[in-house]
C-alpha cells in the first residue's frame, strides 16, 4: 500500500468523490477511524441533512425449519428437531391482531427459513392475510434467498414469483441473504442457498418490477477484506444500473450457536469502520442503517457520527439474530429512540418503508 495511494484515497473521501476498490482498501489499511467518520458523516449530511430515520415495525419469522443448513446460521432447525416451529394462519392472525393495536405501525417485516414442505401458497397466503388485516401497512418480506426457493419449488420464474407476491400486497424486499457476494465465501458459509448470480438476478428483477429493496452485507467471518469491500462495489454497480436500493444494512457476524462458532465476533472498531466505509463506497445508496439489535444501542447511537442515518425500527419479537447470541433487548420505545437521536444532535424522523416521513405519535409502547 503506497503512501500516494492512501493520500489520494483520503483526498477523494474528504471531497465525497467516488472511490475505487484500491482506494477503499487503502482507507481500510490506513485505519484512521475518525477521519473516515468525518468524511462519511459529511456524505450523509449531503443526502439527508440532519435527519435520522426510524420506523415502527414488527418482525415476524414464520418458521425456523430449514433445508439449507447454512453453517453461518444459529436460527435453523431440521424438521422434527426440538425447538422447530411453523406459524399457521391462526398464529399469524393473533400476531396481526396485536399489531393492530400498535399505533403508527408502518411495516411488517417477514423473513423465514426455507421450510421443506410449506408450499409457495403458504407464503402467498401470509402476504394476503397481512394485507387484509393491515391494509395501510407496508409489507417488507422475503429475502432473495426465499424468492429463489419459491421459484425452484414452483417451477415459476423469479419474475413470475415476484409479480404474484406484488399483486398480493408485497411492498418491498428486505435484501437479506446477500452475506458476501462471492461464491468462494458462500461455498463455505452457505453452500446450499442462493448463489451470487441468483441473488443479483432476483434483486434486479424486483427493481425492474418497481419493487424496491434494501441491500445487506454480513461481514466478519471467513471473508477477506478485499472480498468484503468488493461486495460493496458489487452492490454499487447494481445500484448504478437499477437505482432500486433504498438502504444498506450491514450485519457483523455473530458466531455463537453457528457452525462457525470457532470465530470471534469482530469488535466495535471494525463495526464503526465498516459503517463509515460503506457510507463512502455506496455513494449512490440513499440510506445507511445502523441496526441496533446487532450493534447494541450505545454503538448504534455512536454510528450516527459515522454516516448512518437510520436506526431501524422499534422491532418486536426478532428471533434470528437473538438466536446467534445477540443480547440486546427485543424492542425499544419510540420516545427512547427519539431521545437518542436528538441527543446526538440530529432530528428524528419517523418514516414509512419508503422513507416518507410520517407523523410520530407520542405514546410509549413495547
Amino acid at each position: 500500500m503506497t503512501k500516494e495511494l492512501i493520500l489520494q484515497a483520503r483526498e477523494k473521501a474528504n471531497a465525497s468523490l467516488r472511490l475505487n476498490l484500491q482506494e477503499a482498501l487503502a482507507l481500510y489499511e490506513d485505519n484512521d477511524l475518525l477521519f473516515l467518520a468525518d468524511c462519511a458523516r459529511r456524505m450523509k449530511e449531503k443526502k439527508s441533512g440532519r435527519q435520522v430515520f426510524y420506523n415502527v415495525n414488527k418482525h415476524i419469522n414464520l418458521t425456523n425449519i430449514c433445508t439449507s443448513g447454512c453453517p453461518l446460521c444459529a436460527f435453523q432447525k431440521k424438521e422434527g428437531e426440538p425447538g422447530g416451529f411453523v406459524l399457521e394462519e391462526t398464529d399469524i392472525a393473533k400476531i396481526l391482531e396485536e399489531a393492530k393495536s400498535t399505533r403508527n405501525l408502518g411495516e411488517i417485516h417477514i423473513v423465514s427459513a426455507l421450510h421443506p414442505d410449506k408450499p409457495f401458497e403458504y407464503y402467498l397466503n401470509v402476504v394476503k392475510q397481512v394485507r387484509q388485516a393491515l391494509p395501510q401497512v407496508d409489507i417488507k418480506a422475503f429475502t432473495p434467498v426465499e424468492i429463489v426457493h419459491f421459484s425452484q419449488m414452483t417451477g415459476k420464474s423469479i419474475k413470475e414469483v415476484l409479480e404474484i407476491l406484488q399483486k398480493a400486497g408485497l411492498s418491498s424486499l428486505p435484501g437479506g441473504g446477500a452475506e458476501i457476494l462471492s461464491d468462494r465465501v458462500r461455498e463455505i458459509i452457505c453452500p446450499k442457498k442462493a448463489t451470487t448470480a441468483q441473488w443479483i438476478e432476483t434483486i434486479k428483477t424486483a427493481h425492474k418490477l418497481g419493487i424496491r429493496t434494501n441491500c445487506t452485507m454480513m461481514y466478519g467471518h471467513i471473508e477477506t477484506i478485499e472480498e468484503r469491500l468488493q461486495h460493496l462495489f458489487t452492490l454499487r454497480d447494481i445500484q448504478d444500473e437499477t437505482g432500486g436500493f433504498q438502504a444498506f444494512v450491514s450485519f457483523p457476524f455473530h458466531p455463537a450457536n453457528t457452525g462457525l462458532d470457532y470465530l470471534k465476533r469482530v469488535g466495535s472498531w471494525e463495526d464503526m469502520k465498516m459503517m463509515a466505509l460503506s457510507r463512502l463506497i455506496l455513494d449512490n445508496v440513499d440510506h445507511i442503517k445502523a441496526f441496533w439489535i446487532m450493534l447494541t444501542m450505545p454503538i448504534a447511537q455512536l454510528a450516527l457520527g459515522f454516516g448512518a442515518d437510520d436506526l431501524d425500527g422499534t422491532i418486536g419479537e426478532e428471533k434470528i439474530i437473538h438466536a446467534a447470541g445477540a443480547n440486546t433487548g427485543r424492542g425499544i420505545t419510540r420516545s427512547k429512540l427519539r431521545q437518542l437521536i436528538t441527543e446526538a444532535g440530529f432530528e428524528p424522523v419517523e418514516r414509512d418503508t419508503f422513507y416518507h416521513p410520517v407523523e410520530a405519535g407520542e405514546e410509549v409502547f413495547k
Binding site: 469482530v266 466495535s268 472498531w269 447511537q301 455512536l302 457520527g305 441527543e343
Partner: protein, 348 residues
C-alpha cells in the same frame, strides 16, 4: 496548543461534536504515546463492605450489623494477594468501606504484611478512606499518609472524587469527603512523593459547568504538584442505587472523554473506561483520546480458575487493543511499559 478555558469546555460539553473533538484528542494522545495503548494487570481487594457513609449512588455498602456485611481477615487478604501475584498481577488495589472502628494500626499492619511477603505495588485507599483513617487516629492527613507510606503504601487511586463540587456531593453523598478535603489528601500525598490518579464520575445529575469545575480543580492542583498520573472518567451505574437514573449514553461519554484529554493537558494519561461503558465502547476510546484501558481486574473466580481463564482475560484485552490496530502493552502502576505484544491482530 492554547489551553482550553472553562467557558470553552462547558460549551463543548453541551454541544461539541464528539467526532471532531475525538480527532483532536486522538491526535494529542498519539503525539504523546504513538500507537501504543496500555493496560495493567491488577487485583481489586475490597476488604470490607461495611461503611458508615451510606452514599446514595453506592450499591456495595452494608451496615455493620447487616447479615451480608463482611470484613476479610489478614490471612484472607494475603491469600488474595498471593493469587494475584501468582496470576502475574503487578498491583493490588485495596479499597473498602469506611469501617467504624479498626484503627490506623490495622491498615499499617495490613500493608506491612503484604510488603513482607510479596513484591507487588500497593495502589490503595481512596482519599475518603485516608480521611477516615486520619480522623479515627486523631492525626493530620499528612501524618496519616506518612505512616501509611512507611508501612508500604505506594500510591493512591483517584476514586471518591465523583464531582468535586460540594453542591453535587451534598446531594449524592452527603456524608462522604467534600471537595477541599479530597484535594487536600491528594496534595499531601503528592508532597511526600506519593503519586495518584484522579477520577470523575459523570451522570450524577451534575451540570456541565460543574463537570468543568471538577476538571479545573484537578488541573489547578496538577499545575502545582504534578502528582496525578492519569485522569479517568467513569459513568455512573444507576442499577441497585438509591439515586437511580439513566446511564450516560455512548455519544455523551465519547464527547466527555475527548474533552478530558484536551482540557487535562497537564495530566499525561487518559483512561478509557471499558468497565463502566462496556468493551464495545471501550475499544473505541483510543480514537477519542484515551491511551490506556485501565485494568484487567482479576476476578475472584477467574484467579481461582488459574492459568487458562487468566490468559483469556489478558488475551481479550490484547485482542481488543490489537483488533483496533494499536500496539498493546502491559504497564505497571507508574505507567512504565513492562511488556509489549507483537504484531497487530488479525481482526477476524
Amino acid at each position: 496548543m492554547m489551553r482550553m478555558n472553562a467557558k470553552e469546555a462547558e460549551q463543548l460539553l453541551v454541544s461539541g461534536d464528539p467526532i471532531q473533538l475525538g480527532q483532536l484528542a486522538g491526535a494529542e494522545a498519539r503525539k504523546r504515546f504513538g500507537d501504543r495503548i496500555t493496560f495493567i494487570v491488577d487485583r481489586n481487594i475490597n476488604y470490607t463492605n461495611v461503611c458508615v457513609n451510606e452514599c446514595r449512588f453506592c450499591a456495595f455498602f452494608r451496615r455493620k450489623e447487616s447479615k451480608d456485611a463482611y470484613l476479610l481477615t489478614f490471612d484472607e487478604i494475603l491469600g488474595k494477594v498471593r493469587e494475584a501475584v501468582d496470576a502475574g498481577a503487578t498491583q493490588v488495589m485495596i479499597q473498602g468501606g469506611l469501617y467504624p472502628d479498626l484503627g490506623l494500626e490495622y491498615y499499617e499492619k495490613m500493608l506491612r504484611l503484604i510488603k513482607e511477603n510479596f513484591k507487588i505495588t500497593i495502589h490503595s485507599f481512596t482519599a475518603t478512606e485516608i480521611q477516615h483513617f486520619a480522623r479515627q487516629a486523631g492525626i493530620s492527613i499528612l501524618d496519616c499518609l506518612k505512616r501509611l507510606q512507611a508501612a508500604g503504601l505506594d500510591s493512591l487511586p483517584g476514586g471518591g472524587a465523583e464531582i468535586l463540587v460540594d453542591a453535587v456531593r451534598q446531594r449524592v453523598s452527603p456524608k462522604k469527603i467534600m471537595t477541599e478535603d479530597w484535594l487536600h489528601v491528594m496534595e499531601c500525598a503528592h508532597s511526600i512523593g506519593m503519586e495518584s490518579t484522579a477520577t470523575m464520575v459523570i451522570g450524577l445529575g451534575e451540570t456541565m459547568a460543574q463537570r468543568v469545575e471538577h476538571m479545573e480543580r484537578i488541573r489547578q492542583l496538577q499545575d502545582k504538584t504534578g502528582g496525578f498520573r492519569a485522569f479517568i472518567t467513569w459513568s455512573f451505574q444507576p442499577g441497585n442505587t438509591e439515586l437511580g437514573g439513566e446511564k450516560t449514553s455512548g455519544w455523551n461519554y465519547m464527547r466527555n472523554l475527548a474533552i478530558t484529554r484536551l482540557y487535562m493537558d497537564n495530566v499525561p494519561h487518559i483512561q478509557g473506561s471499558w468497565v463502566t461503558q462496556g468493551e464495545r465502547i471501550g475499544q473505541l476510546t483510543p480514537a477519542f483520546g484515551a491511551d490506556d484501558l485501565g485494568s484487567i481486574m482479576l476476578e475472584e473466580n477467574v484467579v481461582k480458575a488459574a492459568g487458562t481463564a487468566y490468559d483469556m482475560s489478558i488475551q481479550k484485552m490484547v485482542d481488543m487493543i490489537q483488533g483496533a490496530g494499536w500496539q498493546a502493552a502491559q504497564r505497571d502502576t507508574e505507567y512504565n511499559v513492562i511488556k509489549t505484544y507483537g504484531g497487530k491482530a488479525d481482526v477476524r
